[in-house]
């Protein structure tokens, strides 16, 4: 971590833990070998990969051979979604997703839509929960796949997976269930055997692991049509080479966040509650986006700050050494308001003024104090420049 910088954008990526870097080190140097059979070098790597699969599988309530390493969450999502759709297209070509899902899911849905599949997009309520009523009504005889995002990457909403699964099971045929758990893994309880998930993606760098490695959970018996063809080095689904050291680092990160899950998540929850309370107390006209309390992931706080624009806020905080994110169109590559907030029925102004703070195990209360103090000052400064704030004061 850059010394002195306060980093509150942990939903995008997290700082690798020192334990993770230490676990990776041997595999970057003396133990760099790809897996192989019979010879000691390859067998040593086989053994590390098996151990890593076992460890990650244990954290998820899965079997080791159900864990496939991929070069990230997006690859895992692609292999699963396109793989499921193509494997089961003889049984139907209808897919269900929601408008508040992660871009990986939505772009895959759009791709499939262009290639002979039909997609139903469920709407969201004002807190980012998908409509279960619409899900019930959307199921058809030819529905083969439902996919969703466990924890929303913008507002931290936790989708009610058990209720969703019950609806899928009430259909008179099998509907495959793919879950993007990039934001959920290590933050909210997640046991695939209890939830009845068929495929799922997770990512190492969201939990203090290295960037460039993720995993795909594939329930035993679930078929996936091959997406990537090539030489098998590490995995049969993502063929080709994969960073061996990254796998070692991923397993270490999984152990770190899941071995003491209750304490870790309680710490995140305590900090995010503290942050929200301070924001609401010290800055006027601040509104929480997404649910309050236990239905929200413990590391996410997203608020709209009225009368000012988020890119300006993030730039000012950045100048003070604080990294946060905004849903402002002006800060997005496509110059569009945040699609999650818009789908939740927020206004353009609420989206442009939205600020997302995502904390990690390394965040401290002192950092949050400093952030809110800086933000309060910035907010006042930008409001003094804002014609909207002036107009509001005039009306009063």
């Amino acid at each position: 971590m850059q010394p002195g910088r306060i980093y509150l954008d942990n939903c995008v990526t997290t700082c690798p833990a020192p334990e993770v870097l230490a676990a990776m080190q041997p595999y970057l140097q003396e133990k760099f070998w790809f897996p192989g059979t019979f010879i000691s070098t390859g067998e040593s790597t086989n053994e590390m990969i098996s151990r890593s699969q076992q460890l990650i599988a244990d954290t998820l309530g899965a079997k080791p051979n159900e864990i496939h390493f991929t070069s990230g969450g997006t690859l895992a999502n692609n292999i699963a979604i396109k793989g499921l759709a193509n494997a089961y297209k003889q049984q139907g070509r209808h897919i269900i997703v929601s408008v508040v899902d992660y871009p990986d899911l939505l772009t895959n849905a759009a791709y499939l839509e262009k290639n002979g599949f039909e997609v139903t997009y469920l709407s969201s309520d004002s807190e980012g929960f998908i409509s279960l009523e619409e899900l019930k009504n959307a199921i058809r005889k030819d529905t083969i796949l439902f996919m969703t995002t466990y924890v929303n990457h913008t507002v931290g909403t936790i989708q009610p997976l058990s209720e969703i699964k019950a609806i899928l099971d009430s259909a008179d045929h099998k509907i495959y269930f793919h879950l993007d758990a990039g934001q959920g893994y290590g933050k909210v309880p997640l046991k695939v055997n209890e939830l009845g998930i068929d495929t799922m993606s997770i990512s190492a760098h969201k939990i203090h692991g290295p960037q460039g490695i993720g995993a795909l959970y594939q329930k035993t018996g679930t078929k996936l049509a091959q997406l990537i063809h090539g030489v098998k080095r590490v995995d049969n689904l993502q063929t080709g080479g994969l960073g061996i050291a990254l796998i070692a680092g991923f397993a270490q990160a999984a152990e770190l966040v899941c071995s003491d899950f209750e304490r870790n998540t309680a710490y995140l929850r305590e900090l995010s509650n503290y942050l929200l309370e301070k924001l609401e107390k010290e800055i006027p006209f601040v509104e929480l986006n997404g649910p309050r309390g236990e239905k929200r992931a413990p590391h996410n706080i997203n608020v709209s700050i009225d009368f000012i624009e988020g890119e300006a806020i993030t730039m000012m905080l950045d100048q003070k050494g604080i990294t946060v994110a905004t849903g402002s169109a002006c800060a997005s590559e496509g110059l569009k308001a945040n699609y999650i907030l818009m789908a939740m029925g927020k206004t353009h102004i609420q989206s442009h003024g939205s600020m997302k703070f995502t904390i990690s195990r390394y965040t401290t209360k002192a950092e949050l104090d400093e952030t809110v103090q800086a933000l309060a000052k910035i907010t006042q400064e930008l409001r003094n420049r804002s014609p909207l704030y002036l107009a509001m004061n005039k009306e009063k």
Partner: protein, 207 residues
């Protein structure tokens, strides 16, 4: 994509910011829905027609605030005729450039300055309210920047046809279906033209 030091300086410590009491003219452009809105206030010497004081308010991003700051610096002390020649390109050059995707934010500040000057001239009988027609539409389209390259859509020959009849504006655009900015441009054209009371309907044709 990074801001120049000059942009950051003007953004962090803007010049001429704040509401002006009893201005001789003012103008507000943009809308909160688009993410930026600027108000410019002018104090003009009645005899010399010199801009003696100028200030702005901005609901917008760093680029928007920095451009409003520098453009008000540039206009201060100039006659209205001189200030009319200040363009968003001048402001952008003075800021040591802007990332292409941010150029459209700088146009708004320049546009608001010109509107404030125009309002002064209309209010003081120096010019008539211009008739709305194809020329006005073309002027508005020159303010719409294609974010990929930071040039306006007229200069880039993206506008194939402009028509105006019985309150209906018709614009044919040469922007392909796969272009990621297609919807942004169409939306921005509507926002620019809807503010004119003469415009009752806007039809934008895309290939």
């Amino acid at each position: 994509m990074q801001y120049s030091q000059k942009v950051l300086d003007h953004f962090m410590h803007p010049h001429n910011v704040g509401k002006m009491d009893n201005p001789d003219a003012e103008a507000t452009e943009g809308s909160p829905a688009c993410g930026d809105q600027v108000t410019v206030y002018l104090k003009v010497n009645d005899q010399t027609k010199t801009i003696e004081d100028i200030s702005f308010l901005s609901y917008g991003c760093a680029s928007n605030i920095a451009t409003a700051s520098i453009i008000t610096d540039m206009a201060k002390g100039k006659t209205l005729e001189e200030a009319k020649n200040i363009t968003w390109k001048d402001a952008m050059d003075a800021l040591d450039g802007l990332p292409p995707v941010k150029v459209h934010c700088s146009v708004l500040a320049a546009d608001t300055l010109q509107s404030a000057i125009s309002n002064y001239e209309i209010e003081h009988g120096l010019k008539e309210v211009p008739d709305f027609g194809k020329a006005t539409i073309e002027e508005e389209l020159k303010k719409i920047i294609y974010p990929q390259v930071g040039e306006d859509i007229i200069a880039l020959k993206m506008v194939k046809y402009i028509g105006f009849q019985d309150g209906e504006v018709t614009i044919d655009l040469n922007i392909m279906k796969f272009d990621q900015w297609r919807d942004n441009i169409a939306e921005e054209i509507r926002e620019h033209l809807m503010k004119y009371p003469d415009v009752k309907k806007i039809t934008i044709n895309l290939p």
